[in-house]
């Protein structure tokens, strides 16, 4: 598929002849430089936009509305509503599907316990740290109850220590709750660590440059995994493809 935008200065091709496929339950990483059309790609997949040419299918849905019903998008910014408590922010997802507030909260509570957020369920977003806000945002994404997860630079706004912690945390959370996942990031290490397979996108117009089968041993802790020789080799190849 391709995507072109009309701007004041003419037509911009954001994505060109891009073909990709993720198997059910697979974690697919998409790495590219800033501005290569990564976020556009996710908005196309989840049905917020339509491609200029080509087709997209997500979980059997082809039309934009059908794709929207299949995909949950976790945006780069947490976008928590400042007037809602942390728990109510996560409960927003079921609420918007017509679940009553009280039942929606009951659905969010077990996730909060699992994510180590239960102490903060009544706190307002402004009182939470960046890492906690992303966890709440991820809980909200999961509670949308869709089979496909689209993660757009989920930890892009965090400091590197929190980022590493949350990568490990997300790895565990996705193992506990497996979903077909598209992770978009500019961080090669993050993609290789979290995903089964990683696609490297070229500069705009974005198209697939290289494909790396990450699929590394998942049982080791992060610090050991990212320093293993095979990880380092993959990272080098990825960086080469990006250059």
């Amino acid at each position: 598929m391709s995507k072109k935008f009309r701007t004041k200065t003419g037509e911009v091709t954001a994505l060109r002849e891009l073909t990709l496929e993720a198997a059910t339950g697979e974690r697919l990483g998409i790495v590219g430089r800033s501005g290569c059309g990564k976020s556009t790609l996710l908005e196309l997949v989840c049905g917020l936009q339509e491609p200029t040419t080509g087709t997209i299918a997500a979980g059997g849905g082809r039309s934009a509305a059908a794709r929207l019903a299949q995909c949950a998008l976790m945006p780069q910014r947490d976008l928590l509503l400042p007037w809602r408590s942390a728990l109510d922010n996560a409960a927003l997802a079921p609420e918007l599907k017509g679940v009553r507030r009280r039942e929606a909260r009951a659905m969010a509570e077990p996730l909060f316990e699992r994510f180590g957020l239960e102490e903060f369920s009544r706190a307002k977003p402004a009182e939470l740290s960046g890492g906690m806000r992303q966890r709440v945002s991820f809980a909200r994404t999961l509670l949308a109850g869709k089979p496909v997860l689209l993660l757009d630079e989920p930890f892009g706004s965090l400091d590197s220590i929190t980022r590493a912690e949350l990568q490990e945390w997300l790895d565990g959370a996705l193992r506990a709750e497996p979903r077909t996942t598209l992770l978009v990031t500019h961080d090669v290490e993050e993609a290789l660590f979290l995903c089964d397979r990683v696609l490297i996108l070229s500069r705009r117009p974005g198209t697939v440059r290289a494909e790396l089968g990450a699929g590394l041993e998942r049982s080791l802790p992060r610090s050991e995994r990212v320093t293993s020789p095979e990880f380092t080799l993959l990272k080098e190849r990825a960086l080469e493809a990006l250059a």
């Binding site: 989840c46 019903a69 976008l79 509503l81 007037w83 918007l96 949308a144």
Partner: protein, 251 residues
């Protein structure tokens, strides 16, 4: 405590200067009454001024409430219908160019000396800041937040109820604070054109009788009323939109 010291000192200095000017400058007290004379007029004529103040306060509150309701309703309609927005927004702006001085006497002819023409004058002046601010708030919602809500399956009504209205609330209060301050002017204006009660009426009568100290006392009461109402709206705002404050402090 120290927070109050500077404004209190400045106020005291101004009042003292005024007192000195009026007393030592041999200014006729019907031209410029000294603050002490204004204070004593306030006390002496309290039975005269108090009922007038209640009349004006009621007009202001009712007119402000009316303006708030109409303003929010118009903002909502203009927000929900782009066609109406294009068509009607210029008219809303044009309504502010109509001099109230022209309209007020006509309203008195239509509705008499009662409260109705005052309410209309107040509402006419006050609805505008409410519309403009609320509409800005509704239109200024974070686009990414709208996208997020849409991926979660939000309907148009969901967007309005759970995102746009709460987001617009701090803006609505900004408009309301402007509106409540000018509402007092509106009330006095309505009364000056034709009334038998209210502080505007008291000012008119006082001016005719050269009771300048009483006129100043009435103006003082109007100022206090505006400050009190502004404070009241600010208080409600702090209760209703606590997040606007916390996020502001964090930035």
């Amino acid at each position: 405590m120290t927070k109050w010291l500077a404004p209190a000192a400045l106020l005291a200095l101004l009042v003292a200067g005024w007192e000195a000017l009026a007393k030592l400058g041999h200014v006729q007290n019907y031209l410029l009454p000294a603050p002490s004379e204004v204070a004593s007029a306030l006390w002496r004529d309290r039975d005269l001024l108090a009922p007038d103040m209640w009349v004006t306060a009621r007009e202001v509150l009712l007119g402000f409430g009316l303006a708030l309701a109409i303003g929010v309703a118009i903002a909502l309609v203009l927000h929900l219908s782009p066609v109406l927005r294009r068509a009607a927004y210029p008219l809303v702006v044009a309504s502010q160019a109509i001099p109230v001085i022209v309209i007020a006497p006509i309203l008195v002819i239509w509705f008499g000396f009662g409260m109705t023409p005052k309410l209309i004058v107040i509402a006419l002046i006050c609805f505008f800041p409410v519309v403009v601010n609320t509409l800005d708030g509704l239109e200024g919602v974070d686009r990414d937040q709208v996208k997020m809500m849409r991926t979660l399956g939000a309907s148009r009504l969901d967007l309005l109820r759970r995102l746009e209205l709460p987001s617009a609330l701090p803006f609505l209060f900004s408009g309301a604070k402007v509106a409540v301050a000018v509402a007092v002017i509106g009330a006095v204006f309505g009364e000056l054109v034709g009334s038998d009660a209210g502080l505007g009426h008291a000012i008119q009568v006082g001016t005719a009788e050269l009771e300048t100290a009483r006129v100043f006392a009435a103006v003082l009461l109007l100022s206090l009323m505006a400050i009190a109402l502004f404070g009241l709206v600010a208080l409600v705002e702090r209760r209703a939109v606590p997040w606007a404050r916390t996020s502001g402090e964090r930035r």
